[in-house]
């Protein structure tokens, strides 16, 4: 059976770790409407991967440093720019991506397949990748657990929380940095380009059934794990690319449930 192979166990473990990060941070991305800026962060992370490959440094760790840095810049830009913040985010998005491709092109010798970073390749997840993903999950979990009420107040009503002296700029940058860490967790599972899907779909599915943020996080974590197991299982059985299969399973399930729910509430 396929389940006995180490690579399959690694894949499942990576999938579950990715689901945990998405369940927590994806909920904030959905309720605080950070989808577009998260797209910018995830694509800018590719710059870090390129830089890592060029310098012969672990590309995932380099992506952590690079994307936390770029998400802080994006956060400051989006708060300080009076207008056209979407244009600036789009520019960062493209520049990060282009920088990554540029650096990979400069890298001498063997360069791993680009598409495994862009679309994910769960078969190549190594033990050290899993260790990195696990550590990032721990960091995300601790920060969200200790800042939960502050994140909630900030996400619900930024202006009011600023009046009550919540450090809104700091909170915003921490939240975006957590999005950056989540993107890195997702890279090896679904890749840079499909990361957006897992940042939004499990949380959006959970939002159909929940009415507090705590429940939304818990439910989207469980839904994320289900999506991952279904997606990875199907991709092995049908011999299809894992990232795309996971995203298709998630997307189709979410849209179907959304349709069913709106039919029920109408009637």
């Amino acid at each position: 059976m396929v389940f006995e192979y180490a690579f399959f166990q690694n894949s499942l473990m990576a999938g579950v770790l990715a689901a945990v990060a998405c369940g927590i941070i994806g909920s904030y991305v959905v309720v605080k409407r950070l989808v577009f800026i998260s797209g910018g962060i995830s694509h800018a992370a590719f710059g870090g991967i390129g830089l890592g490959l060029f310098l012969g440094f672990n590309p995932l760790l380099m992506a952590v440093i690079f994307s936390v840095f770029s998400s802080s810049i994006l956060g400051i830009i989006s708060k300080k720019a009076y207008q056209r913040e979407d244009t600036l985010i789009g520019a960062m998005w493209a520049i990060g991506m282009a920088f990554g491709i540029f650096m990979i092109y400069q890298t001498p010798g063997y360069v791993p397949d680009l598409s495994s970073y862009l679309f994910g390749n769960i078969l190549t997840v190594s033990r050290s990748d899993i260790l990195i993903m696990f550590s990032l999950n721990i960091i995300i979990g601790i920060i969200v657990f200790t800042r939960y009420n502050e994140f909630l107040a900030f996400s619900f009503d930024e202006e009011f929380s600023e009046v009550t002296n919540v450090p809104v700029m700091k909170t915003y940058i921490i939240l975006l940095s957590l999005v950056a860490l989540t993107v890195v967790v997702l890279v090896s599972v679904v890749g840079i380009i499909l990361a957006m899907a897992l940042l939004t779909l499990p949380a959006a599915t959970a939002s159909l059934f929940t009415n507090t943020l705590k429940k939304m996080i818990a439910v989207s974590l469980i839904i994320g794990v289900i999506y991952m197991i279904l997606g990875i299982g199907l991709s092995f059985l049908l011999d299809q690319p894992s990232g795309a299969t996971i995203v298709l399973v998630s997307g189709v399930t979410y849209l179907s449930l959304l349709g069913i729910k709106s039919l029920i509430t109408k009637s």
């Binding site: 309720v31 009076y82 200790t146 800042r147 939960y148 009420n149 502050e150 909630l152 107040a153 996400s155 619900f156 009503d157 202006e159 009011f160 929380s161 600023e162 009046v163 009550t164 002296n165 919540v166 939002s207 929940t210 009415n211 507090t212 943020l213 429940k215 939304m216």
Partner: protein
């Protein structure tokens, strides 16, 4: 002599090259009940944001409780326009109100027993205790308004600042609402900002009109000429400066 709680001196504000507020002078005292009226785009929201320290004036000086706004605002209970609240947000009434206590929490940002006692008390005052576990999307406009006022009261304010509090609220609810504010104004200063001239009831003690510049009126009787200047055309002054009960009889 009453204590001065807000002082604006020659305050101007520009958005880019566009001057939104010009040379504003305003003094508000303890337990004042001030209505600020003006047309949309007249700079009302900008003035509120300046007072709350969310924006910095281009020129001039602002003092809030003798401090810069970003320090003095801890004494202010801010009630934003409820129509701007994201009603799909997964949060219930109790969580919204507790968020008013966030600056009192420990390093893990947990709410204490005392915070919960205070939130129970303000829910009681606002008559929304039975709604505590309801998600905010399921509330009526009037109920959501009460929730936002409860959140502001939970900060234990000395000044309540309300932005467009009566938009889309029916006449009966509006009357009750002003009676409630009247009671509250014996304990704290209240400033309410609106574009709706009919909304300024007889209970508001003083009125200021704003449209880029600000005109302060000691009492409520503003000559219609002032409104024409403010709004650029003659407007109907329903119940303005007339005791509120006359309006009610009219409706019946």
């Amino acid at each position: 002599m009453k204590k001065e709680i807000i002082r604006l001196e020659n305050v101007s504000f520009d958005y880019g090259d566009h001057r939104v507020l010009e040379d504003i002078n305003l003094n508000v005292f303890d337990k004042d009940f001030l209505g600020i009226i003006g047309p949309n785009g007249g700079g009302k929201s900008t003035l509120l944001k300046l007072i709350l320290g969310l924006l910095k004036p281009t020129e001039g000086n602002i003092l809030l409780f003798d401090k810069p706004p970003n320090e003095g605002r801890k004494y202010v209970g801010y009630v934003p326009q409820y129509t701007l609240v994201d009603r799909n947000f997964p949060i219930n009434v109790e969580e919204v109100i507790l968020s008013g206590r966030i600056s009192h929490t420990d390093f893990l940002r947990r709410y204490s027993k005392n915070d919960r006692i205070i939130s129970d008390k303000v829910m009681d005052i606002m008559g929304i205790s039975n709604l505590r576990k309801i998600q905010i999307g399921k509330l009526s406009g009037g109920q959501l308004q009460r929730v936002l006022i409860a959140r502001a009261l939970s900060t234990d304010p000395k000044l309540l600042l309300l932005d467009e509090p009566t938009s889309n609220i029916d006449v009966q609810a509006e009357t009750d609402f002003y009676d409630f504010l009247q009671e509250l104004s014996e304990k704290m200063a209240i400033i309410l900002v609106t574009h709706d001239t009919g909304a300024i009831s007889s209970q508001v003690k003083t009125i200021a009109c704003i449209n880029k510049t600000l005109h302060y009126h000691g009492e409520k009787n503003i000559p219609p000429k002032v409104f024409e200047k403010l709004y650029g055309c003659p407007i109907e002054l329903i119940g303005h400066g007339i005791p509120h009960r006359v309006l009610k009889e009219h409706d019946d």
